[in-house]
């Protein structure tokens, strides 16, 4: 992970070539810079001023570079410790609280930069009694928690852009339906293999279309093979997965011949009802009511799943979190270790997941609708690579690559 620091240089830095020299020193040291702010004096008597964000490979390289820059008059911009204010009541942040991004974040306390434990966007930063700093969603803050306020003493680190012939290079391409899918899927499969090899977890976020498009058995295979480690979905996905395995239909339509049987529209309600009778999906599996499918494999292989509810849910299944705040917290609890996220034909759950994911998690958003992919990026999950294609085709091809 690269590290950055802001430096300032002031005076007749143009005519004296000091600015040119400072920039050369940075580049010669193999580091990079971004001009944050430059003010050029209008006349020869007016001083100029430049503020640069310098990024080096690691702390040691940055320290050496800063020492060299200091010689040429470029000093670290004045730094202050972060300010905190105690939350007055549970669930309410102090006015002026620092609102987080999903990027790796550091907070300066007692003159030292401390890494934030769990980057997550749209949260607050709370300093723990042991000096660690955590992101905390608004509703979880408790009266008296010291909450970071203002922008001072907080910095975020831009993620390194992959360079060169990196398998991840294709990440920076725009979302488009005009890309060769086979190749893309192959590369995603490679990334998943690398992640698994390095001990990272793979999260799948599934929408009901995964089942409707016939991709259920492939996802089930990926769970069984230990490739998918965590599953996030809603009532619909789990219901149709179970329905398709128990009754052979998805929302009443047989996955075999596609001809709707009489009364098929109520199939999913009957399935939900039977699972509710057994207390939980695990109970229905233990009872022998569910004998296959994604949820079955999750239960059988101890793969954690979080089913988030919504207002329009039928039933819902007993495992569904009907309190959205609890659902989001349950999702957060499953995130440690997740390195790759597959968003499969899910709009609401994909965005909900994007909200709680650190920016460092490789995210692939697969949807037939380009708008979903764009929406995810627009909401701050800039790390998401969009693949516009039929999810059934995608999952099937991915499974072929991985199994």
């Amino acid at each position: 992970m690269s590290v950055s620091e802001t430096v300032e240089v002031e005076g007749h830095i143009i005519d004296s070539l000091i600015l040119a020299k400072v920039l050369d020193v940075i580049v010669d040291a193999g580091a990079d810079y971004r001009m944050v702010d430059v003010h050029i004096g209008r006349t020869s008597g007016d001083p100029s001023r430049a503020r640069l964000e310098v990024t080096a490979a690691d702390d040691e390289a940055l320290a050496a570079l800063l020492a060299e820059l200091k010689v040429h008059g470029a000093n670290r911009a004045a730094e202050v410790d972060a300010l905190t204010e105690p939350a007055e009541v549970d669930g309410v942040l102090p006015v002026g609280f620092y609102a987080t991004t999903n990027l790796p974040t550091q907070v300066r306390m007692g003159g030292h930069w401390v890494d934030v434990d769990n980057p997550e966007m749209d949260c607050a930063l709370v300093v723990r009694p042991d000096g660690r700093v955590r992101t905390v969603p608004m509703h979880r803050v408790r009266a008296g928690d010291p909450v970071v306020v203002g922008q001072g003493g907080v910095r975020v680190q831009a993620l390194e852009r992959p360079r060169g012939a990196n398998p991840f290079e294709f990440m920076n391409s725009e979302v488009s339906s005009e890309k060769p899918k086979e190749q893309l899927v192959g590369r995603v499969a490679e990334r998943i293999k690398m992640t698994k090899g390095a001990g990272g977890k793979v999260l799948a976020v599934c929408g009901p279309a995964v089942i409707h498009t016939g991709a259920g058995p492939d996802v089930a295979d990926l769970v069984r093979a230990g490739i998918i480690d965590v599953l996030f979905a809603g009532n619909g996905f789990a219901t149709h997965d179970i329905e398709s395995n128990v009754l052979g239909t998805s929302l009443g339509v047989p996955l075999g011949d596609g001809l709707p049987p009489e009364g098929g529209h109520s199939n999913h309600l009957r399935v939900i009802n039977e699972v509710r009778r057994r207390g939980s999906i695990a109970g229905a599996v233990a009872d022998g009511y569910i004998t296959g499918g994604v949820m079955f494999e999750c239960v059988q292989h101890g793969v954690p799943f979080v089913l988030g509810g919504s207002v329009r849910d039928d039933g819902p299944l007993p495992d569904v979190y009907t309190d959205v705040v609890e659902a989001a917290d349950a999702m957060r609890a499953e995130l440690p270790g997740v390195a790759v996220a597959l968003m499969l034909a899910s709009t609401l759950h994909a965005i909900a997941t994007g909200n709680v994911l650190p920016a460092g998690v490789e995210t692939y958003c697969v949807d037939i609708n380009q708008a979903v992919v764009t929406k995810l990026a627009d909401r701050g999950s800039h790390q998401a690579l969009g693949i516009v294609t039929d999810v059934g085709l995608f999952v099937h091809t991915l499974a072929q690559h991985l199994l």
Partner: protein, 290 residues
């Protein structure tokens, strides 16, 4: 061609307490004894030569245990009646500052100190030329001083990196002669500094290494008289061709401490910047940026 608009009034300090008592530059060796009588004589010769050339000399009292107070070029930087005291990097020289400030206060100068924590060694590292101050940094002065110094002096300051530790002050590498000419020692500067001086000086005379190390650039110019610690033939010929009278003055006792003629003087009549009615500098921050 016109003479330098400054260099008719100097501050000097008699060498009553001069000696090499510590080593803060490559020329100083404590085992080399200073002949104080000889030093007094050489210093007297320098004063006489400057006066003969038409300059006034003001005196700063010498102080026990401040052997380098004799090098008044490092007392501070003067412009338009304002005096910016030096802030020395070496603790040995730091006590000089109080004496310098007392003199300038008593003599009606507007004393304007640099912000805390920023080092700069005065006219030794800041020489005016064509409307700007060139300022040496790295060995003794901080590059970061040039912004505040410029604000205090009311004139542009362009820092030049000194890369040869033997030439630890700018005044060992650069000597303005008139409004177009200067002795320059580019080997003592980094590539950026060379470009800056090249852009500023229309007619430079480039010193060879041996000339540079003979402290040729550490000369005092009074009108058309150049008072030099040494004058190698090539330099002398060129200066005479340009119409200068060259007067070598033996300051060998002071060279033991790494200082020559210029180091022993501080020009009090420098006037650079908007109030001075100078020719405008050859470029401006905004033009250069374009």
């Amino acid at each position: 061609m016109s003479e330098l608009p400054w260099g008719r009034r100097f501050l000097m300090c008699p060498p009553e307490h001069f000696g090499v008592l510590y080593e803060i530059n490559p020329w100083m060796h404590r085992e080399v004894a200073v002949d104080l009588d000889r030093a007094r004589h050489q210093w007297g010769e320098l004063v006489a030569t400057l006066v003969e050339a038409g300059a006034e000399v003001e005196l700063l009292d010498s102080q026990p245990e401040l052997p380098d107070l004799v090098f008044t070029a490092n007392a501070g930087t003067v412009n338009n009646g304002r005096y910016v005291p030096s802030r020395f990097r070496h603790p040995n020289r730091q006590p000089e500052v109080d004496h310098d400030i007392a003199w300038f206060t008593e003599h009606g100068f507007d004393v304007a100190p640099l912000p805390e924590g920023i080092g700069h060694e005065g006219a030794g590292d800041a020489l005016p030329f064509r409307g700007v101050f060139l300022s040496g940094y790295r060995s003794r002065s901080d590059a970061g001083a040039h912004g505040p110094l410029s604000a205090l002096l009311g004139a542009p300051v362009r820092p030049i990196e000194l890369v040869d530790e033997r030439l630890y002050h700018l005044d060992l590498t650069f000597c303005p002669l008139d409004d177009r000419r200067a002795l320059v020692a580019p080997h003592a500067w980094d590539s950026y500094g060379r470009k800056v001086v090249e852009a500023l000086v229309p007619e430079p005379f480039v010193l060879e290494d041996d000339e540079m190390l003979a402290f040729c650039a550490n000369s005092v110019v009074v009108g058309t008289t150049v008072v030099m610690p040494a004058c190698p033939p090539r330099v002398g010929r060129q200066l005479e061709r340009w119409g200068f009278d060259v007067v070598p003055v033996d300051v060998s006792e002071f060279l033991k401490a790494g200082g020559g003629c210029r180091c022993l003087t501080l020009a009090l009549d420098v006037s650079v910047g908007p109030q001075a009615g100078d020719a405008p500098p050859p470029s401006s921050e905004s033009e250069a940026a374009r």
